[in-house]
């Protein structure tokens, strides 16, 4: 009975997927999502490009490496450039400030906890999925949005408590296992 039900659900899912893909609904949704995301990311890139004018009083900036701005604004947002931009944003959000300041101990702790955060995210994903997904996306978004170190530190307050709690949970679990 159970097997029959599973087979029926499987067939219905298969047909639904086939219908959604072949009718172009999925690609339409994907294109609409891309149309929504791309101008927003481009606007942020443009802000990064003009960061010295916009935040003239800020002391520490970090901008995208190389000619990534020019490339992305000239060629649109292919997957490769999108990944470059997103990775850069995440690295900045997780690991800034890289200069010596009052936040340096916290930065060192962030570096130490990063592998444990990844482990904790996998280990506890079934228990707190929304918290982990929100934390990770929040880091990406804030990294993309803020090219000024002081503002980035302030804005990532939202998700850094999640980062430290999951990271410490991962570390504690590994230590208890040993």
């Amino acid at each position: 009975m159970k097997k029959g039900l599973r087979a029926a659900i499987f067939i219905i899912c298969l047909f639904s997927m086939g219908f959604l893909i072949s009718s172009g609904i999925v690609s339409g949704l994907f294109e609409r999502a891309l149309d929504w995301v791309t101008p927003r990311i481009e606007a942020r890139l443009y802000a990064h490009l003009n960061v010295f004018t916009i935040y003239s009083k800020a002391r520490y900036f970090f901008i995208l490496p190389g000619n990534l701005h020019v490339k992305s604004l000239a060629y649109g947002m292919p997957v490769g450039i999108f990944l470059d931009v997103a990775t850069n944003a995440a690295v900045n959000a997780f690991f800034q400030p890289l200069f010596l300041c009052v936040f340096t101990p916290q930065t060192i702790l962030s570096y130490i906890l990063f592998p444990f955060f990844l482990y904790g995210s996998v280990k506890y994903f079934r228990k707190v999925p929304l918290m982990i997904i929100f934390g990770i996306f929040c880091f990406f978004y804030i990294g993309l949005r803020q090219p000024v170190a002081e503002a980035l530190i302030r804005h990532r307050l939202t998700c850094e408590l999640i980062y430290f709690s999951v990271g410490l949970a991962g570390l504690s679990y590994l230590m208890q296992r040993r």
Binding site: Y124, L157, L161, S165, A169
Partner: protein, 176 residues
């Protein structure tokens, strides 16, 4: 709170808020809204209610002549910046012009957020990591330093922590 008081004295004496240069903007905007709540309108603000220092006066004049908030035309609560103006205005309406009160408010939000995440960690990760987290988070430089400023971000931090606490075990804590 002692650190916040010392920092508040430092800012009052030197007129330099080096941790958050935007503080004056928030504080003066909140003060302007307080005057609107107290029954004044744009044309009837008394001279002694206008801030004395030049930078604050510039912000005040900008709101008065360019932004043109009035008792019948107040800013809509559409983002956290405007919400923060109203919170500052509420604090100033009770205590008068009192930036230290806003600092205490931020400290409270910061500690509450930490406690909410601690409760989530206790319910889902176990007691040991939760306790370590509590110690780390309460003395985290960014939380500690920015909570003594007039920083609007703690509203968002608190809301996120509160919603996550409700989603992950808040009801269990209340039932105990």
């Amino acid at each position: 709170m002692i650190t916040a008081s010392v920092y508040d004295i430092f800012v009052s004496v030197t007129d330099r808020d080096f941790l958050l240069p935007d503080s004056k903007f928030y504080s003066v905007s909140g003060w302007y809204l307080t005057l609107m709540f107290s029954g004044y309108d744009r044309t009837s603000i008394p001279k002694d209610a206008v801030p004395a220092d030049e930078e604050s006066r510039k912000v005040f004049d900008d709101i008065l002549y360019n932004v043109k908030w009035d008792s019948s035309h107040l800013p809509p609560v559409e983002n956290e910046t405007n919400l923060f103006f109203y919170i500052i205005a509420a604090i100033y309406s009770v205590f008068g012009y009192f930036p230290l009160g806003v600092r205490f408010f931020n400290i409270t939000l910061s500690v509450l957020s930490t406690v909410f995440i601690y409760k989530i960690a206790e319910n889902n990760f176990g007691e040991t990591p939760a306790r370590i987290f509590l110690v780390v988070a309460l003395f985290l430089p960014s939380q500690f330093i920015y909570s003594i400023t007039l920083c609007k971000d703690f509203i968002r931090v608190f809301l996120v922590a509160f919603i996550l606490w409700i989603l992950y075990g808040g009801e269990r804590c209340l039932k105990r």
